[in-house]
């Protein structure tokens, strides 16, 4: 099915849910839905006979710090094994907001959501085990993929002096802008 037809089906079923339609490269279409309705829309996409998006290809977060009013987006790239079409579902969040987990629909969302939580700090409600995945469990320096997390630490050049305190101070990492 063409992306536009899928869009029409969702529009008819959920009239006030779609906040924005995001056309993109290669004829792909994504929709931004209200976060309260995300689980319902996802369930509809999975179970509607003409759509059957039974394959969650990918789930990821994006950080739009300073670019958009609502900072985070969670992106669900869906695929249908029967009909061989793709579709993209998105939800937009403020920094302190959370979104429903889709583990109940697609099991592989488990690690994807844990990874997104780990690297962006986005909380997924009703996730069975939302802990850090890639970073160590006791890591407390923030969320690495956020745009305000520095890519590198700049180390000051150690210099020679007999003052031990000054040498130690010069070795402390300084965050780069």
């Amino acid at each position: 099915m063409e992306a536009n037809q899928i869009l029409e089906l969702i529009k008819n079923r959920f009239p006030d849910t779609i906040e924005e339609v995001v056309p993109s490269f290669d004829g792909q279409v994504g929709i931004l839905v209200k976060k309260e309705k995300l689980y319902q829309v996802a369930k509809f996409l999975k179970e509607e006979p003409g759509l059957t998006f039974n394959y969650l290809a990918d789930l990821s977060g994006v950080d739009f710090l300073g670019k958009k009013e609502r900072r985070f987006e969670v992106v669900y790239n869906l695929y249908s094994l029967e009909h061989k079409h793709r579709f993209r579902l998105k939800v937009s969040l403020y920094e302190d907001e959370s979104v429903d987990s889709v583990v109940g629909l697609w099991k592989s969302a488990d690690w994807h959501e844990r990874e997104t939580f780990d690297l962006y700090g986005i909380v997924f409600n009703n996730h069975p085990n939302l802990t850090r995945l890639m970073m160590p469990e006791d890591y407390d320096e923030g969320y690495p993929l956020r745009k305000d997390f520095p890519l590198t630490y700049k180390y000051q050049e150690p210099f020679f002096t007999y003052d031990k305190e000054r040498v130690l101070k010069s070795l402390e990492p300084v965050k780069e802008d």
Binding site: F25, D26, G30, A57, V75, K107, P128, N129, M134, F149
Partner: protein, 404 residues
């Protein structure tokens, strides 16, 4: 699902009578193929639950990619799955070509098929050798590596590198393949099939091999769909899903090949599927070499093509193009794409968000190992601890691919 993610204490409360022991496997265990760590609950010798702990090789490629221009990300994709670098290069440049709306010349498309399918054979041979070694058949390792070495030598002749190639470019490939190399590869595809027969006589009817793999780690088709398995993992369970055929990219729709499928979804089926795939790959290589037209191997567009040495020394504009390409790259208009290709291990997806500059705003690598490994707890419950080694091997993970 909820059972799977209970922590160890809760699990003990549920089974108070039983005698469960928790042991640690990895991250330095030789049969975990890298730095995978498993926390295994066993009762006697039977596995009750497995909890994979990943992230020991977390490299931060996604963060790093946001600070690099698009071309500089190609070497990063090499290093994700270092067993199938060509396929990862190809997946990434195909995503970029869709965003830039350009198409590579026909010769480049066929060259891509040749190297990508050679890479698939190399990946499966390495898998076969190490998997058989895990189970206890040592001869297979040497025979498989003997063949893999030939492929590695082809790669060395094609692009100068043996493991991380950085060969694909936006709009084509880096270097042309000469006729002598193509002839040698063509001859290899014929001799290789005979070598595969030898390998199969060692394993397919081998009693030990059958006992260790038949009925071990059965994944039904419904489970495979539920867990979004892809590649040989899914196809062995009868999940008829191959992106080369279902959403063809490059020239795969002009080539003739079959998709290998399994029936039972056990470790033995995954072995047969991979063996079949190697045969199909050698068929594909043969066809691609025979159909390969003459012509340019990279698009003739100064926006993307790095000018050669002679060009930039004789022409000031070419020199300017070189500076711009190296320092700033090419801008891509704002938008986003999800592009997927069939890597040897499964579906390899790139979700790229562009903000109109020469650097990607966000890249998410959807790697097959990451998704495929999630089924390990479900697959291994009820099996012996010794079978866990078989099961890790049969998923075919690369830790660089898993942790990124």
């Amino acid at each position: 699902m909820t059972e799977l993610n209970l922590d160890m204490e809760q699990e003990r409360d549920i089974l108070p009578e039983s005698n469960i022991m928790t042991i640690n496997m990895g991250p330095q265990h030789p049969s975990t193929h890298g730095v995978l760590r498993l926390i295994v609950d066993i009762e006697g010798e039977t596995v009750v639950n497995v909890k994979p702990v990943v992230g020991y090789l977390h490299t931060g490629f996604e963060k790093l990619a946001e600070d690099k221009i698009y071309n500089q990300v190609i070497p990063l994709t090499d290093r994700m799955d270092y067993m199938s670098s060509h396929s990862y290069n190809m997946g990434y440049v195909i995503a970029l070509e869709k965003m830039l709306e350009i198409a590579p010349p026909a010769r480049a498309e066929y060259i891509r098929v040749v190297v990508a399918e050679l890479q698939r054979i190399a990946n499966h041979l390495l898998w076969l050798g190490t998997h058989a070694l895990d189970i206890g058949a040592m001869t297979v390792l040497f025979l498989a590596f003997k063949e893999r070495e030939k492929i590695t030598e082809f790669f060395e002749r094609i692009c100068g590198a043996r493991l991380t190639f950085n060969y694909m470019r936006v709009g084509g490939v880096n270097l042309d393949i000469g006729k002598p190399i193509l002839d040698d590869i063509h001859a290899f595809t014929q001799s290789f099939v005979k070598e595969l027969d030898t390998l199969e006589t060692l394993l397919s009817q081998n009693r030990i091999w059958l006992q260790r793999t038949k009925g071990v780690g059965v994944v039904t088709k419904d489970q495979a769909i539920d867990w979004q398995l892809s590649g040989p993992m899914g196809r062995a369970s009868g999940l008829n899903y191959d992106l080369r055929r279902d959403q063809p990219y490059g020239v795969y729709d002009q080539l003739d090949f079959e998709v290998a499928l399994g029936v039972n979804g056990d470790s033995y089926d995954r072995y047969t599927v991979r063996m079949k795939e190697m045969r199909e790959s050698s068929k594909l290589i043969k066809q691609a070499i025979e159909k390969m037209p003459e012509g340019p191997f990279i698009i003739d567009d100064p926006r993307f093509k790095m000018p050669g040495h002679k060009d930039r020394m004789l022409n000031i504009e070419n020199l300017a193009h070189l500076f711009v390409l190296t320092a700033k790259g090419y801008p891509i208009k704002p938008g986003e794409i999800y592009s997927a290709t069939e890597a040897p291990k499964g579906e390899l997806g790139f979700y790229i968000v562009s903000d109109g500059t020469g650097k990607p705003y966000r890249i998410k690598f959807r790697t097959p190992s990451f998704v495929n490994l999630q089924i390990l707890p479900d697959m291994s419950r009820g099996h012996l601890l010794a079978d866990l080694v078989t099961l890790i091997g049969t998923v075919d993970i690369t830790l660089g691919d898993l942790d990124r």
